[in-house]
């Protein structure tokens, strides 16, 4: 047969089932309890890592599963579908794991990847700055050569999970490209407790165990061996890591959507107000059906983007479309699941409104809806740049 094959292999199905079972054994109540009390998802992360799920996309020689982004997306989606949408997947195995696997030297891989694969350590990722949001050319955090190493100065904000990460992969400016007049970027692995690095919580309205932080770098010394991909190679390295981040964001959102629709369908089948299940009424059934279609389409694009990335093809357009579609679908799915539950939709014990923050967050982050539309307008449709 010529064409596509949309059926999942038995291994991929088993991976789904096994990840779902592990995540479900913790469940949404665990997630909410940790998020609310300021606790971390350590036990869950460790349990997933022990099974080989956290490092599924990392090279086998460094303790990973030797598979790709497609498998990591399955892991992230199933966790979210079981009520534990972990933002850590976006940064530690997706961005940091993919960048290190691809650009780090064998010595750097041997040092940083095994702890990520076995769950002993997590790595955060720091790019966003107060004056350089979506425009990475304006990054002002500098790494300046000094005494055989570098000194980092500057500010980063909205950096996830720094308090539970042993290291942070930091995007810095190390020079100026004279041809373009733009900054040349370099990536460094910095210890979260490095002298001169101040980590300040940045309170946000999101119920997630991963917290957000502002980072102040004041003359933070780093060894040249901590530079990933070589000095000045940052932009290329960085762009390589952003597609996995978008794909895994999409996967987490798709998982949340499935979780919400699953709850909605169950409730609509059971809840009776006038003698029949409320799902009988098309006023509730059709909005849920519409959401199910949006979610399924988003999942297909997520699969395509991960496949392109794993095949070494240009995955930017598909990754951007997948993230856009998944964020919009999740917004619709969660909203309609809440609507189906009536007042119960807002009750903590029904575990729906608790996800509103993360779903809303992933509409503006890690890249906003508007930047994705800009990309598609220019790249897919060939329209003029607006900025």
């Amino acid at each position: 047969m010529v064409g596509f094959n949309f059926s999942e292999s038995p291994e991929r199905q088993l991976l789904r089932e096994s990840v779902h079972a592990v995540a479900a054994s913790f469940g949404h109540e665990y997630y909410v309890e940790k998020a609310t009390s300021g606790g971390k998802s350590d036990e869950l992360w460790k349990a997933l890592a022990t099974q080989g799920f956290v490092g599924v996309n990392l090279p086998e020689e460094y303790g990973g599963g030797g598979m790709g982004l497609a498998e990591l997306a399955v892991v992230a989606e199933e966790c979210a579908a079981a009520g534990v949408p972990l933002l850590l997947f976006l940064v530690s195995p997706a961005i940091c794991g993919e960048i290190l696997s691809r650009f780090a030297t064998p010595e750097q891989c041997a040092q940083w990847l095994p702890p990520l694969a076995n769950g002993e350590a997590k790595m955060a990722f720091a790019i966003t700055e107060p004056d350089a949001g979506s425009n990475s050319h304006r990054i002002s955090t500098t790494a300046v050569p000094s005494e055989g190493g570098y000194r980092i100065n500057g500010t980063k904000y909205y950096i996830s999970g720094v308090d539970e990460a042993a290291q942070i992969l930091v995007v810095t400016r190390t020079g100026l490209d004279e041809a373009t007049g733009r900054a040349t970027l370099s990536l460094f692995v910095v210890d979260s407790d490095a002298p001169g690095l101040e980590v300040v919580p940045l309170p946000v309205e999101i119920r997630a165990p991963e917290k957000q932080f502002t980072l102040f770098f004041d003359d933070v010394a780093v060894d040249p061996s901590r530079c990933i991909g070589g000095e000045g190679a940052g932009l290329r390295t960085l762009f390589f890591g952003l597609n996995p981040e978008r794909v895994v964001s999409a996967a987490v959102l798709n998982g949340v959507s499935r979780y919400a629709l699953d709850k909605a369908a169950r409730y609509a089948n059971e809840r009776q107000v006038w003698g029949v299940p409320i799902g009988t009424h098309q006023g509730l059934a059709h909005p849920l059906a519409e959401a199910a279609i949006a979610v399924e389409l988003a999942r297909l694009m997520c699969d395509k983007a991960a496949w392109l990335f794993d095949e070494g093809q240009d995955a930017a357009e598909a990754s951007n479309m997948a993230k856009f579609a998944a964020a919009d679908a999740a917004g619709i799915a969660l909203d309609r699941a809440i609507e189906t539950h009536g007042g119960n939709g807002m009750a903590t014990e029904y575990g729906l409104a608790t996800l509103w923050g993360i779903v809303r967050l992933l509409k503006v982050a890690p890249v906003s809806r508007e930047m994705l539309l800009n990309f598609v307008a220019q790249r897919t449709l060939g329209l003029p740049r607006s900025y």
């Binding site: 038995p10 291994e11 199905q13 088993l14 991976l15 089932e17 096994s18 079972a21 592990v22 022990t50 099974q51 080989g52 799920f53 599924v56 599963g65 598979m67």
Partner: protein, 262 residues
């Protein structure tokens, strides 16, 4: 240390979370579509893996009878760590009753020459709870049921057998058949390595003829049981709801007194 070869009977059943239906005419459970490993068999698989591991050698073989060459449920158990599987799949087995199933399983188990056979106390779809002991009887082996703990010491199996009032300590020579309860061990989840390894593990698919069985003794043809009618279970009365107005404890005590349990 003796190497221990353990056979685990694994039933592949329709997903209990999905809507179920009965075959019109025969009133048996519809088994079209994907089947999964019966949850209650995960305990037996885990127990077998731990016993083989403790024995310092030997392997775990799965034996299953399912329609349509179904292996989805077996893949789960292979991913947990079982070494291989024997699947008996044959259109002639449609409509088998518990005894017919036991004949087929016994014939397949014999080929694996196990030191120990483990099964769940009952399946989660059929609930007859009779197949395992029938298998043991057909093989001429001792059987111990309702194990909440299983240990092997040389050529002897020691079982703590759950009873209504506590447990019995039972020892039996090997080979033997033991049925395990859900409390016997905590089943592991398949790991990523296990899932990938399962891909290349052998599943030997056999027919009734391969087992040397007469087709007229199994399936609907050999079944001594026929389901003539199916009726809705009687719905239970809703009971009494007590709203606690500070006297909750006293009212529970009063209720228990009427039952003469306190």
């Amino acid at each position: 240390m003796f190497p221990m070869n353990v056979v685990v009977c694994v039933k592949q059943i329709p997903d209990p979370a999905a809507p179920q239906s009965l075959e019109p005419g025969t009133h048996t459970l519809a088994r079209s579509g994907k089947l999964i490993m019966d949850d209650s068999d995960a305990y037996g698989v885990e127990m077998a893996l731990q016993l083989a591991d403790a024995a310092g050698g030997g392997e775990v073989t799965l034996v299953s009878m399912a329609p349509g060459g179904e292996t989805s449920g077996l893949r789960t158990a292979l991913a947990m760590g079982a070494a291989k599987a024997i699947l008996i799949s044959d259109d002639a087995l449609k409509g088998s009753d518990a005894l017919g199933t036991a004949k087929v399983l016994a014939a397949a188990i014999k080929r694996a020459e196990p030191d120990l056979i483990i099964a769940a106390t009952e399946s989660s779809d059929g609930y007859t709870g009779t197949t395992p002991v029938q298998v043991a009887e057909l093989l001429g082996l001792p059987s111990v049921t309702f194990a909440k703990s299983v240990t092997v010491d040389g050529q002897t199996v020691k079982v703590e057998r759950q009873t209504e009032s506590g447990f019995d300590e039972v020892t039996s020579p090997l080979p033997a058949l033991v049925t395990v309860t859900a409390g016997v061990v905590e089943p592991r989840y398949p790991s990523f390595k296990g899932i990938m390894a399962a891909k290349s593990k052998p599943v030997d698919t056999l027919t009734v003829a391969d087992l040397g069985l007469d087709a007229s003794t199994v399936g609907a043809a050999g079944a001594g049981q026929e389901i003539t009618d199916v009726a809705e279970a009687e719905s239970r009365s809703s009971g009494e709801i007590v709203v606690d107005e500070g006297d909750g404890a006293a009212r529970i005590v009063a209720f228990l007194e009427t039952l003469k349990v306190i």
